[in-house]
Symmetry: C2
Subunit: 143 residues, 2 copies
DNA sequence: TTTGTATTGAAAATGAATATCAAAAGCATA
DNA sequence: TATGCTTTTGATATTCATTTTCAATACAAA
């Protein structure tokens, strides 16, 4: 699966005429090895620890490329940091965010997606993307 | 209705032991006179034009207070600016955002809200808040 | 008034993200 | 393999929204 994703990114890169570089390979490997919702800073530190030479800007640039290629998706929660999650074709993750402990739980609900499409078409919109976040307290934090 | 909101904010302020100041009155008046989704900068400029003395920081601070009091709600679209909308008890606005012309259309859907509550309770969450934005192209921009 | 504290505004600081630009690296071609 | 052109990189500076700092000011209770 990771291999497929690498291939997918490589063909995206080839199509765009991008060169293949050591840095992009490393960032891709490490990004693919992470869990969901990693912030740029977190990823940067992770990369730094094994590859001290790689710069801040490169990580930002490369993650934008991943998003463009469809490999990753940007998410903006309420703390002013951009995070990236692994994106797969046609797959959508919505989020339950605990404001107590910052736990993020993913969910999908086909009925909601369907209703979104209905609402959009009722207003003449063509959906590209959507995001939905529910903020609250998880059972642990309510205690 | 505007009067009620002012009263509501004043009792919130009283409860918190906040003082009543000329600046907060002015900012409240002007905020209440605006339409939905005003950015801090836009509001600041509007305020500045009639009250040149009022500072940037005060506008930021006061809007945070409004949000805390329940009078306003923060919204974060994807351009790095915080906007505020008028919030009313129990009322929720979700948004259809046109990425072509930045038009924002509000909608509400009780079925979606119900499904959200179900999902949350299934995960043991108590909802405080939610946001949902659908990004796409409106009929004009698709032409 | 007087006094204690909250609030303000100007300016500085922060922090995320982007731009700049010279040096380095990739890649096609000779 | 060497050459030359172009992309990419990384250090640094910059931008922009927002927050902090702090001395001066305003509020409200006594």
């Amino acid at each position: 699966m990771i291999l497929e994703k690498k291939k997918a990114f490589n063909s995206f890169a080839a199509e765009k005429g991008l060169r293949s570089t050591r840095q992009r390979d490393i960032i891709l490997d490490i990004f693919l090895s992470t869990h969901q919702h990693i912030s740029v800073e977190e990823l940067y530190l992770k990369i730094k620890s094994s590859n001290p030479g790689i710069g801040h800007a490169t990580v930002y640039r490369t993650l934008k490329l991943f998003a463009e290629s469809g490999l990753a998706r940007e998410i903006h929660l309420h703390d002013g940091q951009t995070r990236y999650e692994h994106a797969m074709e046609g797959e959508h993750h919505d989020h339950l965010v605990c404001t107590g402990c910052d736990t993020i739980i993913e969910f999908e609900d086909e009925t909601i997606e369907k209703l979104q499409r209905e609402i959009a078409s009722r207003h003449g919109f063509k959906i590209n993307n959507h995001k939905m976040e529910i903020y609250g307290l998880c059972s642990d934090c309510r205690k």
